[in-house]
């Protein structure tokens, strides 16, 4: 048995010894001293070190380690002060929570100082207790958030609505970049606007077409919409607030209406909810995350389709008053800890915190075909949809034993171009499929259209959109695809509306590509 070893010895002795280590070798030690790495220094970008080791090039979080070696940069970073400014609830509550979770995630700590007369201050430190940053949270509303990043008084603006073209033009003129570009705009969460009344109000649902009439003051008595005979008391947010702006965009502007002068304008969504909860004749709109003690009314579309506000319908943006939550930054360099924090927001712990605070996270959810009853009601209810029983049967056959993924891709009218969120969602879907958790399944990308145009051309357009998503997805997958995971694109045209085609927002919802995961069943021969 020792014969093999005896042959190795003389060969081994003949081999010279030279080490891999070079003059540019650095040693990186974790702050707790428990882990050390060394390798050839390749790069330092202010956030990470890249070193070449025997297991390949490694990228190491510069804030987690100290660097030893002649080529180490002089200092990773000095403590930095910066501000985050914007929507009161998102900044004051959610971002305070996210910073707390971020502190835990980096193994450090946060200390929050609440100031009754001013913004909250959050001190972020690493696991050694060294101060990394002092962060000011300014809960001043969306418009002030934009003003603050324009003037340089904040590094990040948090908005509950997208920046307008006019606002973006001002930034561009000032040389601060295009805030709608993927580098400067991030969607970090979703939310739903909900119509609320007091719990003592007997009304349970409200017609979509009545919303503008009520909030513009054309409908003034509850009896006109099925309630008791009494005056309607309106509460609202200012039109520049995120809630006010999104409500105007989705409801008031398409109807050519404005919020009635008689409405009581309140400062925050929480104030609105509190006021309405205490007023049996009150009605308003607030965010789902701020409903508090008020009652949420269902919204019934013109064609009878009624979609409840749930995390799934908000993630798919099928709930008619869904909104996206944005962060904006200028093209100026961000403080290192803010860049690190923005990377954290996309992680699972951060998205869990978003959900816990009442917002809707961007994480992927699944819904079985059995729970898609609305799909079939909506297919037969509208009268403007060209559909045959054969088409419905074909769609149903494809969706049997399938789960719908909450990721849904949307398109401009007549277009097959993916929008900003869709680009992020392509990456999200590619990452999810790459986990290997979906073996023995196939991915169905199913395109649908609104009812504008002929049935045949809509069927063609829906297939084209699904093909567009498929191409983008395949190019985002490592290696250009996953073995054993077929990805099919198909189009069913206008046959499955999930909102009424009578309204612009409804048509926006219907122009989509859905993602389904179908069990791959092999039948024995």
């Amino acid at each position: 048995m020792l014969r093999k070893m005896k042959k190795i010895i003389p060969l081994s002795l003949a081999v010279g010894i030279s080490t891999i280590a070079t003059a540019e070798t650095v040693t990186l030690k974790s702050l707790d001293g428990a882990t050390s790495l060394s390798g050839e220094f390749l790069n330092f970008d202010g956030q990470t070190y890249t070193i070449r080791t025997i297991v390949g090039d490694l990228t190491i979080d510069a804030f987690q380690v100290t660097c030893e070696g002649d080529v180490c940069p002089t200092a990773v970073s000095d403590p930095s002060n910066f501000s985050i400014s914007g929507d009161s609830n998102a900044v004051g509550k959610l971002f305070a929570d996210l910073l707390f979770k971020f502190g835990i995630d980096i193994g450090g700590d946060t200390v929050t100082s609440l100031n009754p007369n001013g913004p909250a201050e959050v001190q972020l430190s690493n696991e050694l207790g060294e101060e990394l940053a002092n962060i000011t949270l300014k809960s001043n509303g969306s418009v002030q958030g934009l003003r603050d990043i324009f003037s340089g008084e904040a590094s990040l603006a948090v908005l509950t609505r997208p920046i307008t073209k006019e606002e973006n033009a001002i930034f561009q003129l000032a040389g601060l970049g295009d805030l709608t570009s993927p580098e400067q705009q991030t969607i970090f969460a979703l939310d739903g606007l909900v119509i609320i009344t007091s719990k003592s109000n007997p009304l349970r649902a409200i017609a979509e077409q009545d919303l503008a009439k009520i909030f513009s003051g054309k409908v003034t008595n509850w009896a006109q919409i099925g309630g008791p005979s009494a005056d309607i008391n309106l509460y609202a947010r200012d039109g520049t607030s995120g809630t006010g702006a999104v409500f105007n965009t989705l409801v008031m502007d398409p109807a050519g209406a404005k919020i009635a002068d008689t409405a009581s304008i309140l400062d925050t969504d929480a104030d609105v909810a509190k006021a309405v909860a205490a007023d049996p004749l009150g009605i308003s709109v607030t965010s789902l995350s701020d409903v508090g003690n008020a009652k949420v009314l269902a919204i019934r579309g013109v064609c009878g389709i009624q979609v409840p506000a749930t995390p799934f319908t908000i993630k798919t943006e099928e709930y008619p008053l869904t909104r996206r939550l944005y962060t904006y930054r200028t093209n100026q360099e961000l403080p290192a800890q803010l860049t690190r924090f923005l990377d954290f927001i996309d992680t699972e712990p951060a998205q869990n915190a978003i959900a816990n605070d009442g917002f809707v996270d961007l994480g992927v959810s699944f819904q079985s075909n059995d729970e898609q009853g609305l799909r079939y009601l909506s297919a037969v209810l509208p009268t403007d949809v060209e559909m045959t029983l054969g088409q419905l049967r074909d769609m149903t056959a494809n969706l049997m034993a399938s789960d719908r993924v909450s990721i849904t891709y949307r398109f401009e009218l007549g277009s097959a171009q993916l929008d900003a969120r869709a680009q992020d969602d392509i990456q999200r879907l590619a990452q999810m499929l790459s986990t290997g958790d979906f073996d023995n399944k196939e991915v169905l990308l199913i395109g649908y259209t609104d009812s504008i145009g002929g049935g045949t051309s809509n069927q063609r357009l829906s297939k084209l959109r699904a093909e567009e998503v498929r191409a983008a997805l395949i190019s985002a997958l490592p290696g250009g695809g996953i073995e054993g995971l077929p990805i099919r694109a198909m189009g069913f045209g206008e046959i499955s509306p999930l909102a009424c085609n009578e309204s612009k927002s409804g048509r926006n919802i219907n122009r989509r590509v859905e993602v389904w995961l179908r069990d791959n069943v092999t039948v024995s021969q």
Partner: protein
């Protein structure tokens, strides 16, 4: 009774030369050790060693040196010094020396020293190189893995360019492939589909580095639970952990992971007619996890190939002895009904 047997054997050896030894081959002695009782097989090996068989000398040297890899057993632990001298060591009573330092064949002196010294000193890379150089790659890989697992990833950089294939260690190759793959997601499904026998060693090493490399976001909840179990921290599992799936995953992975298969085989040996999902999980807790499983390995690869040793029932005996002994110091309640029976002596 044991001492009488040893003295009788020693007397036979010293008085009757090699008559008994000549009648037993090293293969028979090794087979007896892997499948039979320690008392009889170690006596056979002792006779062979004293008659100049270097394979027997290497085995006994390692068993004397290093009880867990050598064959942790009540019998070996229960030997007093004189019994140990007579049975496991070379030289005269009172002046005995470990066989690894007293090998009959001088050409093997360096091998003996490499095996004898790999757990001492502050040069794990040097120790691993010596083991690798003299044909003990599994032991060398274990030394490297322990070095990484102790956080000294920096020492890997001191491995010489000429390293006798040490850098080809399976778990280092696994880490290299993982780092080169743009898809960093680590899920149980991915692990199940991975045919590498060293995937658990690689996974645990990557987990050790995950924080500084910002890789934790790529670990799924289920893989984190799996890692907790493998590290002997099953008590940290959340209340909603799916023990049925996790147990099935462990059994599936154990089909290609020989160290993990030891715990799986042991629980199958102990279990009665009902399935006990806690057995593997809690037995790993008791023995302090995968690191201990890795320490159950062939004493000398040159004599008993690693795969032959791991396939034997002897490794399950060793694991059982470890569970029983370490349970004496285990403070948590025993959740597994199988382990309750085993530890109460009913099993």
């Amino acid at each position: 009774m044991k001492i009488q047997a040893i003295i009788a054997t020693a007397a036979l050896f010293f008085s009757a030369s090699n008559v008994f030894a000549q009648s037993v081959t090293i293969n028979e002695a090794v087979d007896a050790w892997l499948n039979g009782s320690d008392a009889a097989s170690l006596e056979m090996l002792s006779d062979l060693a004293h008659s100049g068989n270097t394979d027997a000398q290497l085995l006994l040297g390692q068993i004397d040196r290093d009880v867990v890899p050598g064959g942790y057993s009540d019998f070996v632990v229960g030997l007093d010094y004189t019994e140990r001298e007579l049975l496991l060591r070379a030289g005269d009573l009172g002046k005995s020396v470990n066989w690894l330092l007293s090998l009959t064949d001088p050409e093997l002196a360096a091998l003996g020293e490499a095996i004898f010294g790999y757990r001492v000193g502050r040069d794990p890379i040097g120790n691993a190189l010596a083991l690798q150089k003299y044909g003990e790659p599994a032991a060398a890989e274990n030394v490297i893995w322990n070095t990484v697992n102790n956080g000294r990833f920096d020492l890997l950089n001191t491995i010489p360019a000429e390293n006798y294939g040490l850098l080809d260690s399976g778990f280092l190759q696994w880490i290299t492939a993982y780092m080169a793959n743009p898809n960093k997601a680590l899920t149980v499904n991915r692990l199940l589909a991975d045919p590498s026998p060293e995937k658990i060693m690689g996974l645990l090493a990557v987990k050790r580095l995950a924080r500084v490399l910002n890789l934790n976001k790529h670990f799924s909840d289920e893989i984190n639970q799996f890692i907790d179990i493998i590290l002997g921290k099953g008590y940290d599992l959340p209340d909603d952990a799916n023990l049925v799936d996790l147990s099935a995953d462990i059994e599936k992975i154990a089909e290609v992971d020989a160290p993990l298969s030891i715990a799986v085989r042991a629980c199958k040996r102990w279990e009665t007619d009902h399935v006990d999902y806690e057995c593997i999980i809690q037995s790993l807790e008791i023995v302090s996890g995968y690191k201990t499983l890795l320490s159950i390995r062939t004493p000398v690869e040159n004599v008993i190939p690693a795969e032959d040793f791991l396939a034997s029932e002897h490794v399950v005996d060793i694991f059982e002895n470890l569970v029983k002994t370490r349970a004496l110091y285990y403070k948590r309640p025993i959740r597994s009904s199988t382990l309750q029976r085993l530890l109460s002596g009913e099993g």
